[in-house]
């Protein structure tokens, strides 16, 4: 363990909940999730390279309720990490650090990711499902 004799910040639960805290930790969580989600892309490519039978099996797996749930989570994580990632890239230029701007852009990432996810899945459902 690290040396903990130095002063430590108070426990997380004494902080009032703020959107900036959520947008920051969710960026990490979705990042880790997407790292595993990349295996989903890898899986699809492998099955497609493996021939017609393996690809059809992949379609059945990914089109099942569990598969769709996985895809749904994957798409939201991707869109959140995308929106908030663009926000961080803009902040890397030094812009948007005013507290009000910071809070507003946090909400923008959250709402943007939900809107994109809903749009994509509305399209998928209108097209009649995944596979």
């Amino acid at each position: 363990m690290a040396d903990t004799r130095r002063p430590l910040s108070p426990h997380l639960q004494v902080y009032r909940w703020q959107v900036q805290m959520a947008s920051s930790i969710v960026h990490r969580v979705t990042g880790v999730a997407l790292a595993f989600g990349t295996l989903l892309v890898l899986w699809g490519l492998l099955e497609l390279a493996g021939g017609e039978r393996s690809f059809d099996q992949f379609k059945i797996c990914i089109g099942s309720p569990a598969g769709m749930l996985l895809l749904f989570g994957w798409s939201w994580a991707l869109f959140y990490h995308l929106c908030n990632g663009i926000r961080h890239l803009i902040q890397d230029t030094g812009a948007g650090y005013e507290i009000r701007q910071f809070v507003r852009s946090s909400w923008l990432s959250v709402i943007g990711s939900v809107v994109l996810t809903v749009l994509v899945w509305a399209y998928v459902l209108m097209a009649g499902g995944v596979a």
Partner: protein
């Protein structure tokens, strides 16, 4: 730094800094992020276009030259960006040194392996082998 060192401390700091690796990690994470903004959106559109596609259609679409090239770029960049991100998370939260080092090495190995497997799969599809 010894007391009679005449060189400006700035000279040692410039370029590499205290971590001895400079801003390489930070910069690469940003470059791959910018690439993934474009490639990620393109990938989602590609997948949406393949809804309900049968094997022949999917195989043909993925194997078209530009799609294959962009897919390879997407796979390599995604695994690269993932490895850099997971590295930061491990460095922040894993405080037992041997576990930290082992995980860092494991993540790098798996990321390279994942990228190579993806590239081979796309090449097999594109070249029809």
């Amino acid at each position: 730094m010894s007391a009679n060192e005449l060189r400006d401390p700035l000279k040692a700091a410039r370029g590499l800094g205290s971590a001895q690796s400079g801003v390489g990690h930070w910069w690469t994470q940003r470059i791959t992020a910018v690439a993934l903004v474009v490639l990620g959106i393109w990938f989602v559109i590609l997948v949406l276009g393949l809804l309900h596609a049968d094997y022949a259609t999917a195989h043909y679409t993925v194997g078209r030259p530009w799609n294959a090239v962009l897919l390879i770029a997407f796979a390599i960049t995604a695994f690269w960006h993932a490895a850099l991100g997971l590295q930061v998370v491990i460095e922040d939260y894993v405080h037992t040194r041997w576990r930290e080092i082992s995980l860092l090495v494991l993540v790098k190995f798996l990321a390279v392996l994942g990228a190579l497997v993806s590239v081979l799969a796309v090449l097999r599809i594109a070249l029809g082998v």
